[in-house]
Symmetry: C2
Subunit: 545 residues, 2 copies
């Protein structure tokens, strides 16, 4: 179109009332005119002075837009020939390399009037927009193709996910709710000593140490690794030097790191059955081949067939089996260590909540019994402080400590060193252990309240398991009861419980029960909330009505 | 041993001066005596009253230790028979299942005097400790086996890592240094507006909203996703709704998430050659099969052979090729989108530092041209704010937004919502864009200073590339120069530069050069630091001396 035609076309669409800067509007309009071939390749664009005059805008604005369009390859200026619309049709797919062979000094300008232009507009580009009467260019330009893309993408969605991706989504166990009665595994964050925490945080921000704001060295902040080594040695009988400690964002990342360093796709890994859904997902996407192993009152309990195929890795929760809550017996621990030593297996000890043991001190870790450097110990501050903190730790075998540190920096590029410094001082000043003591007392009361409420309503009919530690109990339901239905009925009454059967990999083994978290429920709400849950149970399981 | 003998043995080793609580010492000593069979299975332990008297400690302490040992399965008490040392020898490995079959009501006590005990001490258990004269039990108990474990583990270390793990470590590109002249890719964190940030942080901590301290909902905090959608729409021409935005911990996690959802092990992925080492590592550990594609002045430039094998995924840096710095031409962008549409490939657009473009506005994103919902856009606040923040984002195709949100919650169990709320308000109040403007000016000066220093020392002999955007320039070295040697010589002078050749997957293609980061170097230090670098260059490349 002639210059004046272009000016009219633009004038119609420039919307000074839209709040959109004229610069951005003009830029998008010209892009759109070129992409939609309103302005065909090779066409001369009016001089900035002329266009500015016809549109009644600052010439400087037009010049800037032209410069930007040159940079983006929409237009090109050749000395003595003014500014032309560049050929922006896609490179020939097959010929792309020979085009590239034209070398480094070739600019967009070289493309003006290049042969083989007149091809039709590729289907993948916006067309309607130019014809649209809508004055709000930005809107129409953004919206229309997006919708088109949406529906198109929708058609593809089915085949879009990979096999592992589809499996991950299908098996996802994550809940939409993250708190309230009776969300398992969520501590009471409202009691967190936030004053102390903010005091320390502000202190470190005032110092503004650049080294605390950049990437973390492999393994995390030395100060925190030292504090943790001391804590784990005394509180958990873990044998380690600070160099063996790797700071992570939590147990998920700790296990991911160990799996990527120690296993290959297709390797067999023993998992307890039942176990935590989150880690099962992490193992699946890493291409591992989990073998679910039964548990009994002493913990993981491999059969002769299980023993026959030594795994590469064994993932266990010795201090407090998740979710059932039993403690792995010493004999079972030693059996596991011996078997792992004989068959060169790795053991990951997931020690997710052993700080909360009621009526007795926490039990010693499995890692503390390991003399062959075959146990990787993982833990987290998610339950002891608050989940959103995202700080966990891994204790690597001495011989692999450096590899673990390197791999964590290489794969995750972690940071958050200021927060790690705050946490280290929080521990050093004794706030960590005193907070644990305080919360242990609090959770102990809530546990009592829950067990009483359960007993007073159901007597021995629905026994609770695993109540001597952790943040939840498992209430057993009579065999054959549909615990999923109960959980749904409870959710309809705004009570979150998790069906036990969902934690089993082997349906045949799946016991019926409910995971009931009491830690994040205020004392006075526990009895009433349990009665609401009771209604859901009675409504679903007539035998109790 | 008889009770009095045990008392003597314990008395010798109890160290009241050690600061270790007597409870913990006695607990460890008895564990050790049992594990080392000083106290054999079945042996009767003295009554708490007697032992307390003989050791001159509180009876209550002894009782508590006994209770703990019962819990841990070291001793067992049978009514009327006092307290006995339990059989703690490992379960028979083959028979473990039939032992387990004894069922749920079987306690540790059942094991006292169980047949088949007298086996020799498994090699995996501490022996020396008991004989050790050292009074500091805790020390000797912890140290000795750990050393043993260390050397044992050392023997295994070679075969310990998996194939992918070993490859990851061997190819790790992460640097020990994270700042100083001329660390590439690290912004100047000292200019971060920490006052504003702490003000907002304190505000949210005071409100102590539990929902900000627990796990994140899939995708992250809605408030931040809204702010980001607005920012990306206007600043980067990205077309998205807030629901399409997934908050991550950075580009590593964003790519990891996309790869796990959209690819399977063994899938072919196109990467630019050269490219960022960190993402190459992420792709490798996910089992992908990267095909390095050459780049020219217009960006990624696949050959006919490349086109012949459509990949599952294409990873590109269109706004600012990393590390060379060129901009992908519009024709190349359209070719890529068209090819991806025809062959059902996914494209990941890594837009890691496009905010910093000097002398022109940032270029529009590739995602903005995509109408088929096939581009996954990833970016991060690591360069615009500070790396340690660990906040990045991914823009998912509309049709997959929910799957991406679910997968991120399932795989990473993210949190940090309080920080996300602070960031959202930081953006809403305009601090984000004004900080970018401020830093763009600052980095522009430093870039000038660096280019001047280079020109004044080497003229055109060592041309710089990619200087019009980003946080580093690439100084080309004459072909055949060993850029690694130069980098080492520089490091010996405490100057960090990255050898360009290390970023290439195909040795044949590898050009010689240096990545020189200027962003985190104070203006006045740039010239002197470059001269130090020059000494390293001249010392390594005689031709410049």
């Amino acid at each position: 179109m002639r210059a004046s035609v272009l000016s009219d076309w633009l004038a119609q669409r420039l919307d000074r009332g839209s709040g959109q800067p004229v610069y951005r509007q003009l830029h998008r309009l010209l892009q759109q005119a070129i992409l939609s071939r309103e302005l065909p390749a090779g066409a001369r664009v009016p001089s900035s002075r002329l266009l500015a005059a016809e549109l009644g805008i600052a010439r400087n604005t037009v010049t800037q837009v032209y410069e930007q369009l040159v940079l983006e390859g929409y237009v090109a200026s050749a000395t003595g020939r003014g500014t032309y619309v560049a050929d922006t049709s896609p490179d020939e797919i097959v010929g792309a390399n020979e085009a590239g062979a034209m070398g480094v000094d070739r600019g967009a300008g070289a493309r003006v009037g290049r042969p083989g232009t007149g091809g039709v507009l590729p289907a993948s580009l916006p067309t309607g927009a130019a014809a649209s009467p809508s004055p709000g260019i930005a809107a129409s330009f953004a919206a229309q193709p997006a919708e088109g893309g949406g529906t198109h993408a929708a058609r593809e969605a089915a085949r879009a996910l990979s096999a592992r991706g589809a499996r991950l989504i299908a098996g996802a166990g994550v809940s939409k709710r993250q708190g309230g009665a009776f969300m398992p595994g969520v501590p009471d964050v409202s009691r967190f000593p936030s004053r102390v925490w903010t005091r320390l945080t502000n202190k470190y921000w005032r110092s503004l140490r650049p080294d605390l704001l950049t990437y973390a060295p492999g393994g995390g902040l030395a100060l925190l690794r030292h504090e943790l080594a001391d804590y784990l040695r005394t509180a958990r009988s873990v044998r380690c030097s600070p160099e063996q400690i790797i700071i992570t964002t939590g147990i998920h990342q700790s296990v991911d790191l160990a799996v990527r360093l120690l296993t290959d796709s297709g390797d067999v890994i023993w998992t307890e059955d039942p176990c935590y859904w989150g880690l099962r997902s992490v193992l699946h996407v890493s291409g591992l081949n989990p073998r679910p192993i039964a548990v009994d009152s002493e913990g993981i309990n491999p059969s002769a067939e299980d023993f026959a195929v030594p795994p590469r890795l064994i993932l266990v929760t010795p201090s407090h089996q998740y979710p059932l809550g039993m403690v792995m017996s010493l004999a079972r621990r030693r059996m596991l260590l011996e078997y792992a030593r004989q068959h060169q297996c790795w053991i990951i000890e997931d020690d997710y909540d052993s700080e909360f043991r009621y009526g007795s001190r926490p039990l010693a870790s499995l890692q503390g019994l390991d003399t062959a450097g075959q146990v990787i110990y993982v833990g987290s501050f998610g339950k002891t402080l608050f989940p959103g903190l995202r700080v966990g730790y891994l204790v690597a075998p001495e011989a692999l400590a450096e590899s673990f540190a390197t791999a964590s920096a290489e794969l995750y590029r972690e940071g958050q060193l200021l927060q790690q410094a705050v946490l280290a001082e929080f521990i050093a000043e004794g706030h960590f252990t005193s907070h644990i003591r305080k919360m242990r007392g609090l959770y102990g009361q809530r546990r009592e309240a829950l067990l009483e409420a359960a007993a007073s309503r159901y007597g021995d009919a629905l026994p609770a398991m695993g109540g001597d530690a952790g943040l939840h109990v498992v209430m057993q339901l009579p065999e054959g009861c549909d615990d999923r239905a109960v959980a749904e009925a409870a959710l309809a009454r705004n009570i979150v419980v998790r069906p036990l059967s969902g934690y089993y990999a082997e349906r045949a083994r799946a016991a019926s029960g409910l995971l009931i978290g009491y830690a994040c429920v205020p004392d006075e709400e526990i009895a009433p909330a349990f009665n609401t849950l009771g209604e859901a149970i009675d409504a679903t399981l007539p035998l109790f009505a």
